[in-house]
Structures are given as C-alpha cells and as structure tokens.
Symmetry: D2
Subunit: 361 residues, 4 copies
C-alpha cells in the first residue's frame, strides 16, 4: 500500500476489515426484510450493554439522516433547536432540521468558544425567546460531540448544559458523528458521556470511524422514540435489507473496535500536530483533542504539500491558508511521518531536510 | 445450501455475489467523499449507455427515498400526484410524498385493473380537479412498473398515460422498484420502457434484484433535477462513502446482471404458478408477469406449507388465504420444486404424492 | 329590499346588523394590538359560560384556518386524521391538513351514511392501520357537525365515535362551521353537543351564520392548545387589530344571536323542502335537518329557476340536476315563497298557478 | 375624545372612517362568496391603475399571511430568502417562512446599516452560499419597506439590490407593511418604489394605516403567482365573505386615502422627534423617516411618561430605555403636544414648564 496523502476527511477511507467481514457474513442465507432480522433485533441488547441502560436503537444510513430524524422528534410538535454556530445540523445539511420537521423546527445558533456552547448562553437565549410570543418556542438543544473544531465537551460541561436545558423543558440531543473519538479522548464510559450527563437522544456515528454506511439513533428517553419508526420509514432509512446496516453496527461496537479505531485516529492527529508545531509560522486554530488538526500553514508549506499531491479540506476565510488535516482509523504512522517530512522540507526546517522526500519513495 | 422456504419477499435474499465483489473492490485505497469519487462520477455515462440518452443519476439507499425525492420534485412547487390505489408511494411509505414535499404534495389514488391505471381515468380525474379551485392542483402521475400485482404496463400503455399527462402539464414518474423484472418480461429496451414512452423521471431499483442497498433516481427531463442534489443531501441520502452505493449500481447494470437476475426470478415465479395451477381450488388473483404470484390457496395447502416452515406475505382481506409467493434472483429450481411438492402433498394431488416430502430431505 | 334569489350558499349573505354594530363599537378609542385588548381577553369567560366548562379560545378569520390549525395540533407530532369522504378538511381546503402540519398529517376518508361516519368503521380502520407499520399512524378523528349533507350527529352518535377514538388514543375534533345549526336542530345544550359527548377541540363557526369573518377554535382539552398561539401567529391569524374579530364573536354568542339566526335559517330550509316536496319528480338526496336542501329537480323546474335568475350550488355528478338550496339568517319567508312559487309554476302544479309569477313583482 | 396616550404601535388605532363606511356599504344585498364578488373582481384594475402596470392581486387578512405566502412562492421549490437581521419575516412570525414553505424555505439574515441591507452584502452572501453544496440554495431577497427602524430604501437602493438579486436568479420581495409611509416619505410614485426598481412581488399593507384587517399581495411578475390561489385558500386567507376585505382595500387606495393617512402619521412622528430633540440626554437610535421614533429616553422622562399613563413598545437591550414611539393616521397634533409637554416637564426643561400638565386637562 502506497503512502496515504489524502487527509481531506475521515470519510475518504473505506470500511474497516471487520466491517466488511460482518457484511459478508450477514449475506449468508435468507432473512426477514425491513429490520425484522435477528441481527437487527439483537441491537437494542448490544447497545444496552454498551451504554449500561435500556435504550431504543434505530439504525440509519447517514449522520445527516440521524440528525434530521432527531431534529424532527426533539422539536416536535414545533419549536427551536439551539445549536452551535458551526453545527453540522445548522450549516451543512441543506436545511435538514426544517425539512425533517416539515417547517416546524428552526435551528438557532449560539456563540461558541473552542467550538462549544456554554450553559449560560443557552439559558439566556431560551429565556429571552420564551418571553417573546412572536418567536419560535424553544424545544431542544443539540451538542456536537466531538465538536467541529476537534474539541470535546467534558461530561461536566454536558451536564451543566443539560441541566439548563431540562430546567427549561428542552430536550438534549447529542450529534455524535465522532462520539467514538470523544469517548476515546475522555477516557470515560459511553454512559458517562451521554445519558449520565443528561443526553436524551444520541446520533451515534460509525461511518467516519470504519463503517461503510451505518449510524444509529440511540434513545435514552424512550418516550421520545414514539414516532421514530414511522419517521424513519418515510424518510427512506428503513432499509429493506437492514441486516447489512445492523451487521456493521454490531461489529463496530463488538470487541471495542469503535474505540480502538478512534484512539488510533486521535493519536495520529496528535502526531500530526506535534510534528507541525516544530515548523515556524504554523498557527493552530483550536486544540487538537480528537482526530483532526485545524491549522494555518505558511504559504510555502501549503504550496509544497499541494504540489506533492496532498489533499485537505480548507477552513476559515479564503486566503488564510487554514486547513483541516483529518486522520482516520487507517491512517498509519508512516503516512503521518511522510506528511510531516514533506511539510518540514518545504518549510526548510532541519527535520524535513533529514528525511528523503516522499516523491522518492 | 438447504432448501429455501422463505418466499416472503424479494427482499429476503442477500446481495448477489457480483455486488459483494464490487463493494469489496471499492474499498481499496482512499477516495473522495460525498460522491466526488470516480465510480460515482462514471454513473451518468453508464446509465446514458443503458438508456441510450443523456440522463442525470442520483444514487440513494432505498426505494422509499427514491420515490419520496421524486415526489418532492414532480409535485413542486405544490400539487397532487395521481397514483394507483395500490401504489407503494401511496400506502406503504408512511405518508412519504407528504413528508418529502413538506405538505405540498398529496397522492390521489385512481382505480386500477390488474394493478394498472388507465389514461382515460387519469384524464377525467385531472380535468375534474383542475376545475375545482378548492382542490390540490394536479401536477404529476406516478406509475409503478412492474405493478404491485405482478403485472407490467406495455410501452404503449405507458405512452397513452404519458400523453394524457403531458397534455395536462403533468410530469410522469415511474416507480421502477421492479423495473428490471418489467423490462425482462417485456423484452424491450430500457429506453422503450421509459423515456421513449414518455417517462420524465424513473426510480430505478436494484435492491430487490440483487443489490445490498442501492437505487438510482434517473432523470430523463434534466430540468426536473435542478434541486435534487440539495434535497438528497438534506434527506440523508448523500452518503459520505457514496462509492459503495455507486459500485453496486455499476455492477448491477454491467454485463446485464440486472436483466439476468430479473429473468431468472420471473421464470421461477412462472414455475410456481404452473405448479400451483394443477392444484384444485387454487385461485390466482392476477396474471403472473414478473417474479411473484398472488394466489388464494386451499386451507389444507396453506396450513401444510406453514407447518413445513414456509413463509409468504399475506395479501387481501383476512380469512381469504391470499398470499404473495415471491421469487428472487437466488431462488433455485429445486426450491420451487420443493415448495410445489409440499403444496401438492397437502392438497392430496398425484403430483405431490409422487415426490418425497421436503421434511425427509 | 328586493326578493332574494341567491341560494348559492349561506356565505352569500353579509353580516347581521348586531355584528356590524359590534364592529363599529369596537372602533372607539385606542386599544392593544395582537389580542391583548379587553374584548379578546373577555372571550374565554364568555365561551366558558356558553359551554359550561373552562375552555381556551382562539379567534381566527376563516373556517379553513380553524380546521387547519386544529389538524396541525391533533395530528401532532405526526399522524392520520380520519374524516368523512365529504369532509371540507379533506376535499375543499387544497390539502390544508397536509399544509398546516408540514406534511405530518394525512386525512383518511371513511365511508358515510347520510353524511355521517360510524364508530364501527372508524374502529376497524384505525385497528387495521395501527397494525401496519408502513401506514401513517392514526391520531385523530374529525367530525363535521352539522354535516355536508344537511344532517346532524346526535350526541349519542358523537359519543360512540368519541369512545371508539379515545379507546385508541385518538383526539376528537369537531368541524363546527355549522355548529349553530346543529345545536338549533338538536335542541340540546352546546355542552351536550360537544365536550360532554367527547369532543376535545371544536372549530366554532360564526361566518356562515351572520358574522363578517370570525371563527373560534375552542379547546376543551387544554393540553392540546399548548402550541396554538405560535401556530396561529405564523399562520397569519393573529390579527393585529384582533378586537374586531373578537367583537364579532362576542356579539354572536350574546343574547342567543347565534341560535336565533340558526333556527331561522333551519326553518327556512324546512319551508323550502316542504314546498318542493309537492312537486312531482322532485327527489331529495338527504334529510334536511339544518339550513339547506339537497335535491334533484325536474329539468323544467331547474331551467325555469335559472331563467328567473335564481342561483344554487350544483352537487352530485354532472347531468343529475342535483342542487344545494341554502338558506341563511337573513332569508325571509317571502324569499322562500317566491322561490317555491316559481318552481311550482315551471313544474305546472296547482300551487304555482295560484301565485303571481315572481317576474311580475 | 380624550388625549391619546397610546403610542405603542400603529396597530392600536381602529379603522379609519372611510374604511368602516366601505364595510357597511359592502354589506348591502347578497353577493358571491370566496372572492367572486364584483368588488374583489375590480381590485386588479384598481391596483393596475395605482401601479401603472398589470398586476395580480391577492387580498389577505394580515401582513404575516402576506409575507408567509410570498415566502412560499419566492423560495419555491426550495431555497433561502435573504433578509435583514431585523426583518419581521425572520424574527417576528414564529418561523413563518419555514411554515408556509413546508420546511423548504429558510430566512438568512444579513447585516444592516440604518435597517437596510446593502447590495454588496447580498451579492457576497449569495455567491458564497451558491458555492457550498451543503447550503440551502439561494432563491430570493426580501426587503422591508419602510424598515423596522423608521428608514426607507430609496428607489436607487432598491434597484441596486434587485440588480444584484436578479443577476443571481433570485426573486425580489418587498414587505410593504408600511409601504404607504415609505411612498409618502419618498414622494415618488408607487411604481417607482416597486416594480420599476425591480420588485417582483409586494406585500402591500393597509392595516397599520387605517384598515381594519386587510393586506394585498401584489404580483408584478405574474408567473410567480401561479400557485397563489391554492396556497391562499389552504392557508385560510380566502375569506368566504371576501368582499369585506376587498372593500377595505378599494377604499384605502381610492382618493389617496392611503397616502393622506401615511403623510399625516409621518408628520406626527417628525413632530415627536423635533420636540424630544430639545430634551438633553435624549438619544435617537435611527433617522425618523416614517411614522415612528426610536429613541433612548432619560430615566426621569421614561418614568414620568409611564406614570402619566403613556405606553410605548420597548426596543433594544433591557435597561437601555429605548422605546418606539409610534404615530398613526389618527394621531392628532394635540396628542403629540401633550406627550411632548409631559416629557419636557419630567425632563425639567423650559418647554415643559410652560405648559399645563396633561393630568390637569
């Protein structure tokens, strides 16, 4: 396998071997359609063990679907969902909350520090809106864990937000597209990171972390789930051959695969950060707590990496040179080292000079 | 492999070997997320070759998503979609058209003969509704091809409906969850069964016929597709690892896999029908033109098959004993023969008596 | 005032004098906008007295708005509303239930006898739908009182339907655009016709019966009203000068104006029916229990009335000659008598021959 | 008539005498329901004369309905509407755009100077969003004329925004709840303030300026109006006795009533401003170009006015003492003078000392 130069997203990777094996295994024999198969029926128990509590689990195909479905139930029958200004559900799902709710939900952005909203800001915004009869009534808050800027909420932070929310009769949703990376970072249990801190419903992500296409909506408050099976069906996420989605999820949480993958991806991002930190002029834009680095690169380094075939996702205003360097479950140490060597070489630092240029490999 | 006794649906089967191989192949190396991968970008050309015309192609995960997305564009900005009373989009998607359109679409059922609506009925209903200012304005017609009762529209039938529709400024959608079975039956080209007969947009199904989870919305009228990419994204059907969906579709239409699978499934259903026809008291409820048989079974046969572990989907009113016996790409002749032998045995006919009971195998 | 020849609808009349006086009186002095005025704030007490129980009252401008808003709350968060096949909310509001609910509601028609649905049919339909996971989940039933064919549900009939509904966790809505005519007919109290029979929320109509533009949504189950004030506002039915709507409603229910108007309109329809009954060939299509007559007229009578300038609303299939002859609060005995004389004259009956032709007046 | 102390809103006034007379006149005789009456049918011609071009006119009951209906057509089939941060449609209609569009529209706020958005900001925002496939696609811009802060767009300003919009295939909506005040201020023709400057559809307000409850949606681009009649009906704004709404609109634009009322209200606000400007410590928050003044009052003045029974709408952050002092068509010079005298008295200025206190009148 050649050196990986694609750090654009944790979605550029394929599926982990364990996931593909689970799909192939699920293919043997006939089965029941629409989620009546044994594998899907095992999931609630599997997730109950993982989260140490009874849950309802709804597998879906994408994180956008998970978030949109959650938005439709937490905003029901009608109301506002408070989110961070950078939240995927607010800015990157083409108006998904409005769509999934039939125009009954609106996402309302709150200011963030290091990608995280604060309980006090939520409380103030909800209280003000609640006092205005011309406003959309507050219903829910949605936290992204880990955040869009590579940070994580501590369980205490989640708890303070959830308390402010529950005191105002708001539901608490967690967009956990990178929940695995967050738990790996925090070193806490999945329960501590979710329902024990006050989360009512979780979008539990697998795709970014080794699945082919599988996410799960996990309800800790089961009353919330009442209309979910209908909503999922009409939204086209009740797969007729659901067993293939469920097999991915089962393999993902079995034998700690999800945490092993996440720990590895997080570690690779740390390695990237540490290597880049030694280049003069490099400016990090946020802490690197999970599997990607947000960083402004010197022009020469940026140009050099592009010239060598590296790809990243651009962030921030045009011209700032800010990129997101994303690692995944399958990013190897040698991939990171090659990246760093190239960066150092173009930066003209000693570290880069010592290594052979990637082009020579 | 033991005898297949599950005739509940063409969805009880897993994926065809060619499809699984395509998925495994797609897993090699990194790729671009959200459909910017080479495989997805090849699809328009592949489908253009298949349909002998320029098309826009949007892969999605389920037939319900394909139909819902189509409903949202053909009913836009607001209007009624005429369907058969038995249409999946009307009765089996939890109000999907209303959902995907944000309450702007309504499905209006028309009477059917052998599962098919008639151009004259469509014309009359549209003209009456158009004259009533208190009605939802007519916008589109949706045909299910093949139908929910194992019949197919001939290209001439499609054409007459499309002409009635277009004369009244309605779009023509075809729900082709079993388009493969229909084309296999008709022996015509895909083009003749679709755009040459006036279809503007097609839900092209693969899942029922050997894919794991893959359908494609194929636009022949590309103006209709304008908002599709946004709608698909917010509906959660822009998969981040889209290459795995596209790989299934590419393999499905390559080397006639889709038609070979469909022809086989159709043939197996014919074999079922011919075998059952020799049992006194068996009453077929519709022609068997594709891959399943709708049939009322004598009580003894019904009880016997259930006792032997066979499963079917029940249709019709309770107590009538009407079942759908569905064959799939992987139903074997020996599976059908075992089924028939069991049925005959319980019916007490000569044919069953001559064969060993399935339980002895 | 000349003879009234317009029997097209109970909406062709203007406002009753008492209503206009109330509007003029409401115009004096400044007031608070958006329903914070004293007249609007008096309404809950006024309606509580009328209905002998605590209620929440939301004035709106039209019956379609009242029904749509009710649909959005009774179907919330998502579900089916069972209605009669002839229900205004199903067939005459351009898909209002779907719209007001953002695609979350669907109206499902039930068969009717004399315009009324039966508890047993409701129970069966709900039970069947509840058993199908691909259906829209049942949430509510909506009764039109009085019905679209001039009949009324007795309190016992309402009660049996409400019991079937509540046993299945459905809300009960009453579309009371002609609630006044129904209560006038039944001779019961408003309470007996509504909440005592199990109605949870009522669209209380005034416009058809003498108001200019005023209806009220009356909640007997106040939990249902939770989101109503927000929904009404965004639907554009929180009038900035709400006092003018409220003044109409207050005058309408004061001093029995609503019942006096309704009794009169009902009596005029009876007079029409009795007069027409003496014409050979006249065929009534339903009982005449409230303020209009559904009747098939002999061709000569139909032609004659049209020639003399009479107008009616056509009902039934084209060519059947079925018309609705609607009386209102301001229809006079002499208007009815002139109509009848003209009809008899063209029918060639003795009764018509005895009277001067209307054209000579 | 006692002194008017209610400056809370231009909606606290009742209807102008000419409007009430028109309603009473419309009450004579029978008529056709649902807008088929002669008065309603005259409106397109009346508005064509007013605007010097062919138009389609849809009377509705409230400004929120007018804006919501416009949002639903300009955003169709799906897209973003750019608005000012202070726009009524964005912040004061309980999520109306999302509702009326069934979740297909989203309002996107732009920064403002003196309540007005700038063409360059619109262009930049649209171009950025257009380049992001995960965003809601841009469809329209909505201008509030006059603005929420008592300023007006000049025709040249409207034109520059409209050109930026049309160049990007966006529709241009004008929320003209106070269009009359704007035209009165500008001294231009209604045409120059609207379609000649590029406006495609206008919410033409009457209620704030003397009507009881009447607004009109005026389409200059008639293609946009295609679905309007259906949308208005299902939204409950096709009044059965529409003639009463139409009569208000006809009287409003006849004999320049609308401009006379607006000019007077504007002049009264100028008088308020000039009088307050002489009080030390008074700080105006925006120009006063139409009928209200946004002003921060010294604490003593604020307390005194409240003590004397005056009412205003509070604006700005709590504690800042910013109020909106709104004048209407029926605000008299002596009402303003009494207000000013009271303010000066509590401010301790000479002007107040010279006058008798209002309480003594």
């Amino acid at each position: 396998m050649s050196v990986k130069k694609n750090f654009y997203s944790d979605n550029v990777s394929g599926a982990a071997p364990e996931i593909l094996e689970a799909i192939v295994a699920a293919n043997a024999g006939d089965s029941a359609p629409y989620g009546a198969d044994p594998g899907t029926e095992r999931l609630p128990q599997r997730f109950a063990e993982l989260f140490e509590t009874e849950v309802e689990v709804y597998p879906v195909g994408t994180g956008t679907a998970a978030n949109g479905l959650c938005a439709s139930v937490i905003a029901a029958p009608y109301g506002a969902i408070y989110v961070s200004d950078a939240a995927h559900v607010h800015g990157s799902e083409c108006g998904g909350a409005e769509f999934w709710s039939g125009g009954s939900a609106r996402t309302v952005p709150l200011p963030v520090v290091d990608g995280k909203i604060a309980a006090a800001d939520l409380a103030r915004a909800v209280d003000e809106a609640g006092a205005r009869s011309a406003d959309v009534p507050p219903r829910a808050v949605s936290l992204t864990q880990a955040t869009e800027v590579s940070t994580v909420y501590t369980p205490a932070e989640v708890k303070s937000i959830a308390e402010a929310a529950h005191a105002r009769h708001l539901w608490v949703h967690m967009d956990g597209a990178r929940f695995a990376n967050a738990v790996a970072r925090l070193g806490c249990t999945p329960a501590e990171a979710s329902w024990k801190a006050g989360v009512d419903v979780l979008s539990f992500g697998a795709t970014k972390n080794g699945a082919l296409a599988a996410e799960a909506v996990v309800f800790f408050d089961r009353e919330l789930a009442e209309t979910m099976r209908y909503r999922r069906r009409r939204g086209g996420h009740l797969f007729s051959k659901m067993r293939f989605v469920s097999a991915q999820l089962e393999a993902f949480i079995a034998k700690d695969l999800w945490l092993r993958n996440a720990r590895h991806a997080n570690a690779m991002a740390q390695r990237v950060r540490e290597g880049l930190a030694r280049i003069p002029g490099v400016r990090f834009r946020s802490p690197t707590e999970i599997n990607f680095v947000l960083v402004a690169l010197p022009q020469a380094v940026w140009d050099g990496l592009v010239a060598e075939g590296y790809s990243f996702s651009r962030r921030g205003a045009p011209g700032e040179g800010v990129v997101r360097i994303a690692c995944a479950f399958d990013t190897r140490e040698e991939d990171v080292d090659a990246l760093l060597a190239t960066a150092h070489r173009y930066a003209g630092t000693r570290e880069g000079a010592d290594r052979p240029a990637p082009a020579m490999r």
